[in-house]
């Protein structure tokens, strides 16, 4: 579904991404692992068109999206849930969710209603908080809101940037269960994580990014069994 070939991104003189290639097959959860500064978030931002690319090609559903503008990419069906949640703190939960539909102009009023109902079924806690402003939610609820807001544009693929960031382990588990349910709904998921053991527990396939290059790749089982991964990321 998503294919990345020889992607390169520079920040000034620094090469943040140095020629990586990977694929995200339809209906799977693929995870991109790596430490701080490995280039994970930059990879996501270059897919969604938020940063300039120095080279390489990105293809989605057979279309070259390398030089597309962010709103076009959203329109094609890629939702990006940015790192640090970035919900709209002084808008209500309801308004946050509705704002999620702005990028997809194909949505009819009726479809928007259905999508809203879908999110509220998936995230029942948001239904209780519909009238509250986003800033008053707990960290976990804010993360749920950020994911739900991304799903409101009815994407084919959703990219999650560190959904476990700063959350209590029990909340992280809840969120990861939800990610599995999102895949069951037929969406493709590209998940970025530092929490490798949690990510590999739900992912189908994984890539390990080190200093802007892909260091190891394989199915989740292979990665979980890999000695190097164990030592560096699983703390075994």
């Amino acid at each position: 579904m998503l294919k990345i070939e020889d992607l390169r991104v520079n920040y000034g003189y620094i090469q943040a991404i140095d020629g990586i290639s990977f694929e995200v097959p339809e209906g799977k959860i693929v995870t991109l692992l790596g430490n701080n500064g490995a280039g994970k978030s930059t990879t996501l931002m270059s897919i969604s068109g938020l940063v300039e690319k120095a080279g390489g090609t990105i293809t989605f559903d057979g279309q070259n999206i390398t030089r597309m503008r962010p709103e076009k990419i959203v329109h094609l069906g890629i939702a990006h849930v940015p790192e640090g949640r970035r919900i709209f703190p002084s808008l209500t939960v309801y308004e946050n969710l509705v704002t999620g539909t702005l990028g997809n102009k194909k949505l009819t009023k009726k479809r928007q209603q259905e999508l809203l109902e879908e999110q509220l079924v998936l995230f029942p806690r948001l239904r209780e908080r519909l009238k509250q402003v986003g800033g008053s939610l707990s960290g976990g609820e804010q993360q749920m809101l950020a994911i739900a807001r991304g799903l409101m544009m009815d994407p084919k693929m959703i990219m999650l940037d560190e959904p476990s960031l700063g959350l209590a382990p029990i909340v992280v588990e809840e969120i990861f269960d939800l990610i599995v349910r999102i895949r069951e709904m037929g969406k493709t998921v590209l998940l970025i994580e530092q929490n490798a053991s949690m990510a590999l527990a739900i992912a189908d396939y994984g890539y390990v990014l080190v200093n802007g290059v892909i260091h190891i790749e394989g199915s989740s089982k292979e990665l979980l069994a890999n000695d190097e991964v164990k030592k560096a990321y699983l703390g075994a």
Partner: protein, 335 residues
């Protein structure tokens, strides 16, 4: 207290209609002309502050240059009606469009600027506009200004008294409110607010932030231009000194006191600031010290402004407005 709040929240359109009827009827009870002039000022500044609130309050682009757009509107009106004898109504539209174009011109190079940097540029732009008005003598009359600006007429009816102008200002204020209300609750308004809240998130959701910001600036400037145009025919004489930075800050103090990002805030801000101006007239220039003190006290106790998100009585109306979708029931309405 909470009962009153719930009542205001529940019967919002009723309350608004009542307020409008009150605004239409009460000046007829034989106020002195000087008093009616104060009412005119309040309504005029309401639209002016409201239009600044569109940029500062809804898209979070802190502009300090509103006096500049106001200035352009006034000069467009003054020049076209005195030199070319064009009638008031088409020129009024041109006043708005002129200011909107200036807004666009300023917004394009500043798209990437945020916060204080944007504020400084808009502040500079406002001064540039005023200084051009002061020095381009051939067109603007320089420091002599433009006098004898003709009164507007409407099918043989001439606006020649403060009371008649009161209704003109009221009409413009109502039109401004209605259009802005619709706009803010549309896709456009939602994209403005998403930019204010978090620009990167807005982009990642596919909001086209550049055109949204440009349109926001132009729309706010348009209404400042309209008010400038009416101001010119109301006082019949303009010169550049009126459109100083002080005026810009005066307008801004109204939205800070009233509450940014609410439609009702500028009304309250305009009433409070203009009311204080009259009350404090006896103490002369010391009243500016009072404004400063008031703004500091506001920042301390109510940084969101009198009408901001709060538990005050009038905020009851706001909560209803923000809710839009009803919980409890099965359907969540998308507005």
């Amino acid at each position: 207290m909470s009962k009153i709040k719930a009542f205001v929240g529940k019967h919002r359109s009723l309350m608004l209609t009542a307020a409008l009827v009150f605004a239409i009827v009460f000046p007829l009870f034989g106020f002195k002309k000087s008093m009616v002039r104060i009412f005119c000022r309040i309504l005029m500044y309401f639209t002016l502050a409201g239009s600044l609130n569109i940029t500062n309050g809804y898209s979070g682009q802190t502009s300090l240059g509103h006096a500049g757009f106001y200035c352009i509107g006034a000069y467009v009106m003054a020049i076209l009606t005195t030199r070319f004898q064009i009638s008031f109504w088409p020129v009024l539209l041109l006043s708005g469009i002129g200011a909107a174009v200036a807004g666009l011109i300023i917004s394009v190079p500043t798209l990437r600027l945020k916060g204080i940097y944007l504020s400084i540029i808009t502040l500079g732009a406002s001064e540039v506009i005023r200084i051009i008005a002061l020095n381009w003598e051939g067109v603007t009359g320089g420091s002599f200004g433009i006098k004898d600006i003709p009164r507007p007429t409407f099918f043989g009816f001439t606006f020649d008294s403060p009371l008649k102008f009161y209704y003109l200002f009221l009409g413009v204020a109502v039109i401004f409110l209605l259009i802005s209300y619709r706009l803010i609750h549309s896709r456009v308004g939602r994209s403005w607010m998403s930019i204010r809240e978090n620009e990167l998130a807005a982009k990642s959701l596919g909001v086209r932030t550049a055109p949204a910001k440009m349109m926001n600036f132009a729309y706010g400037a348009f209404w400042a231009g309209i008010i400038g145009g009416i101001y010119a025919v109301y006082v019949q004489y303009i010169d550049s000194a009126v459109f100083s930075l002080d005026e810009g800050f005066n307008i801004m103090s109204m939205i800070i006191i009233g509450g940014q990002g609410t439609l009702i805030g500028p009304i309250v801000g305009s009433i409070v600031v203009n009311g204080l101006t009259e009350l404090l007239r006896p103490i002369g220039v010391w009243r500016f010290v009072m404004y400063a003190a008031l703004i500091i006290v506001m920042m301390w106790f109510r940084p969101q402004g009198l009408m901001g998100e709060s538990n005050s009585i009038l905020a009851g109306a706001k909560i209803k407005m923000r809710k839009a979708g009803k919980t409890g029931g099965k359907k969540e309405a998308i507005s």
